[in-house]
């Protein structure tokens, strides 16, 4: 170990007083480029909803495994909502099966679709309010994504559809905000566990 280098310390278990902090993913790939066709736009929209649904379902399973049933149920609900959105896209486009990815791949700003929750954002003692904070962050990112596509669209039809998608996501943001107002905020020390899994003595 270099004598000039400060020792790296293991951090204690996170002591959050509010929701788990979410980081906006830095772009590791090209940012979203304007979708050239309706098919390309809707393939992105479909993948965005499916990935969001899958991640919420994964979160629900993780919460069930840790006996946090209330949050598990909320994530299940979110997964169902996103799954329904994906199905609506299939119906709207009259696609009988999921679209193939665009030949250039999906153009997300980060490593995953903008509505997909950060997989590290969970805590086994988290409360419904925290789950809604995660959902709100994702809806806002989805809104920004479609807005960006609408602004950059070179085709009127694509622009109108992207604007419509952005408006829908804005409505989801309002719904989640209203839901949060009806949900109790976590009290300080919500993550205190008298018998924590990290106990090593």
């Amino acid at each position: 170990m270099s004598p000039t280098r400060p020792a790296r310390k293991a951090r204690p278990a996170p002591k959050r007083k509010t929701a788990p902090k979410l980081r906006v993913v830095k772009a590791a790939r090209p940012g979203p480029t304007p979708a050239r066709t309706m098919g390309e736009l809707m393939a992105h929209a479909y993948a965005l909803e499916v990935e969001a649904s899958e991640r919420y379902a994964e979160f629900a399973e993780a919460m069930e495994a840790h006996n946090n049933r209330e949050v598990a149920e909320l994530f299940r609900k979110l997964a169902r909502i996103e799954h329904r959105h994906a199905e609506q896209i299939l119906e709207q486009m009259r696609w009988i099966r999921p679209p193939a990815p665009p030949s250039t791949g999906y153009r997300w700003e980060g490593l995953e679709a903008p509505e997909t929750a950060d997989f590290t954002a969970l805590h086994y003692l988290m409360q419904p309010y925290h789950a809604l904070v995660i959902a709100l962050h994702n809806e806002r990112r989805a809104h920004a994504f479609f807005q960006h596509l609408a602004v950059g669209a070179t085709n009127d039809k694509v622009r109108r559809e992207a604007e419509s998608m952005a408006a829908e996501e804005a409505e989801h943001v309002r719904l989640i905000e209203a839901w949060m107002k009806r949900t109790p905020m976590p009290e300080a020390g919500w993550d205190h566990d008298p018998d924590p899994p990290r106990h090593v003595d």
Binding site: V25, E58, L111, P197, V200
Partner: protein, 280 residues
């Protein structure tokens, strides 16, 4: 990177490769996304579950065979590669994938890792590296930084870290890559690529342990696509590794060495004879 495969009506969707057993990993564990990447890669390659085997050792990540719909073997600590090698040479028709963690693969199974690279049997070895022994409550592993201080290593280990890609290249692995669990789609494409590649394919996956190494949440902002594509020149790959900081993701090396596959047939008959000796 995307797996450009149009799903057909008859094709299995990734979800179909998940078993009924639900993972019991900590919430936020990177291994959830690796599991998702496995299912996407299997679906992209249209693997038949009955023609696929996932072999693992011991540790959090080694639980993965139970969560997949395929043949699975949750084996002995550090010995997943030995078991998988036996399986593949006896049943070359199967797709054999080996999974585990950094402790299982680089410490307890370190010797097997060297010789699996050298033998070049047609396997895909996926190591979910979180730089810590998570299942046994946070001891330093071979990839733990020398100055990582914890209750179990109060002064850090002071030891040089094990560099799996360097070792894999030196020992003769035919395909070497690094992925990140925070990029499950990119990782799925990488795994599919590794499974398609003949010979021993090694994929190191940065998979955060948010329980014992919460600072690994930052990896998401640190990983980047490798600035250059794969090479088939081992010397060039070695030079790239000299400046590698551990956060370049993508395929590093794609060799052309012929996989090792001994003739089968007579061996199977001998195995049947051996079984007779154990009959009660």
């Amino acid at each position: 990177m995307t797996i450009a495969t149009a799903p057909s009506a008859a094709a299995r969707q990734p979800q179909a490769y998940k078993s009924d057993y639900k993972p019991i990993w900590c919430p936020g564990c990177g291994d959830y996304s690796v599991l998702s990447a496995f299912t996407k890669a299997f679906a992209a390659l249209a693997l038949k579950p009955e023609q696929t085997a996932v072999v693992s050792g011991i540790g959090c990540s080694s639980r993965i065979p139970a969560y997949l719909t395929s043949y699975g073997f949750h084996g002995v600590h550090g010995r997943a590669l030995a078991a998988a090698t036996g399986l593949k040479v006896a049943r070359p028709d199967l797709t054999v994938v080996v999974a585990g963690g950094d402790g299982d693969g680089y410490s307890i199974g370190g010797n097997h890792f060297l010789h699996a690279c050298r033998r070049n049997v047609d396997l895909t070895y996926v190591v979910m590296d979180n730089h810590v022994y998570g299942m046994t409550k946070g001891q330093p592993s071979p990839t733990t930084e020398p100055d990582w201080v914890s209750k179990l290593s109060p002064a850090g280990t002071g030891l040089r870290v094990f560099h799996p890609l360097v070792v894999a290249l030196a020992a003769g692995a035919n395909f070497i890559a690094r992925g990140f669990s925070g990029d499950p789609n990119g990782l799925a494409a990488l795994l599919a690529d590794a499974m398609r590649a003949p010979g021993f394919s090694f994929v190191e996956v940065l998979s955060p342990c948010v329980t014992y190494r919460p600072e690994q949440r930052e990896w998401k902002g640190q990983v980047r696509s490798a600035p250059v594509g794969p090479t088939d020149d081992a010397a060039r790959a070695a030079r790239r590794l000299l400046t590698d900081d551990g956060f370049n993701i993508g395929v590093l090396y794609r060799g052309s060495r012929k996989p090792y596959q001994p003739p089968v047939g007579k061996g199977a008959a001998r195995a049947a004879e051996l079984e007779k000796a154990f009959e009660i």
